[in-house]
Amino acid sequence: MASGSDEGLGFGSEDIDASSISALPTEVELLKRAWRNEKASPEILQFQEDVVTNARLQIEHMEETVEAYEEDGKDALTVSLYQMDLDRTEFLLRSYLRTRLQKIEKYMIHISKTELWNRLSKAEQNFATSCKENMENHLKQSVLSRLPYGYQDFCKQSISSEEDDMVPQPQLDTFVFCKSKKTVGSFQLDEGGDEVVDLIADDLYVLRYKSIKPLVETGQIDLV
């Protein structure tokens, strides 16, 4: 990769010239990107803590601005334009957090048993723990406690199952629509190396999520 340490956010390199300053993504663009990726990815992605913190600061700041303008008797037009900008950002933030919660609600057991756990914020982890406990209790009371000995496990079909074999998990071999900002070049889609795709900047591809997962996680490719 030509640019090494950019964390996939499109900045962080030393040689920012005047023309690329305007190309720096704004906080809200980063939030929008996180939102799109989260919505389009079958599994939960890393919580974008900095993006969320910054968006909340900006929202707070804008709320104060709007309030101050209203008190100062600023013209109604300007106030409503600021309000609309605020509404749009708040929607993105809420929808981003909500999309994550809905994934947690769906895959709470899987998430709590895998490395996905570390992708959650502290608050999300607490939520996931309660979710899992509630679901476990509900299934125990409704079904498991009424089944014969040996068949009462929450994650295994019976004690003869060698591993967890009844945990709902996201389908990673589903296909996703994606676009890369920069040219990635030829990229291997399968382990055998029979399936190779040439990923060119700005072109749109439909690919198996599982095979481009690392590109999504490092921010080299965006889901659309």
């Binding site: 929008k32 079958p42 609309m84 589903t174 795709v197 659309v224």
Partner: protein, 210 residues
């Protein structure tokens, strides 16, 4: 649950795709002065009467609705360009012409809220609709080429709304071929189709009481 088709194939609602399109920039000509706006999504203005400036579409729509500006339709929306695009779409059955990623939503928003600002609006609208139709037809024929060896599909220049509409079909078709083309499934139909029994050693002695 294993083997279950995913009901959440429609990832973005039409309203959400439109929301994204509303961030695209468009040129306006204000008819009044407004101070510069330091918005979360960027800095715009200051606005002066008759001085062309660029703003996100949502902002342009808000000003337009309040009678504060006229909107300059984007260059690609001219009769000449759209006529050319339509011809090129028809001439190249396997390619999509480059149009803005949100061309469907942008033109819809402008037709709905700023029709008097678009020269030859009826013709322009018909052209955009024709282009959409030709492109959809192409997507449909592209569908027929999907088979078990399809591991990647490149859809250069397909737009956002087009993606959103074809997504459920594409994903379902590709997944079905992928599943049925899985060599494991062909070699061991028994185990592959019943993943839930993998690792089950059968009934065990410890199931016996005492």
């Amino acid at each position: 649950m294993a083997g279950q088709s995913d009901p959440h194939l429609s990832i973005f609602s039409a309203a959400e795709v439109e929301f994204l399109a509303e961030d695209e920039l468009v040129k306006i000509i204000p008819n009044m002065s407004i101070d510069a706006l330091n918005l979360i999504c960027g800095d715009f203005g200051p606005f002066y009467p008759h001085i062309l400036t660029e703003v996100p579409i949502w902002l342009a729509m808000a000003l337009k609705k309040r009678g504060k500006c006229t909107i300059q339709p984007p260059d690609w929306m001219s009769l000449e360009n759209l006529t050319q695009v339509l011809e090129a779409e028809r001439d190249s059955p396997r390619e999509f012409q480059p149009l803005p990623f949100h061309y469907v939503e942008i033109s819809r928003l402008l037709f709905d809220h700023a029709r008097e600002d678009i020269p030859d609006v009826h013709m322009v609208r018909t052209l955009v609709e024709d282009i959409r139709d030709v492109r959809f037809h192409k997507v449909e024929s592209g569908f027929e080429e999907i088979n078990t060896r399809t591991h990647a599909v490149k859809l250069k220049n397909l737009s956002a709304m087009e993606v959103n509409i074809v997504r459920p079909f594409f994903v379902r078709a590709l997944q079905a071929f992928y599943k049925h083309g899985d060599p494991q499934m062909i070699l061991q139909p028994d185990t592959a189709s019943r993943p839930t029994n993998v690792g089950d050693r059968g009934p065990r002695r410890d199931l016996r009481p005492r």
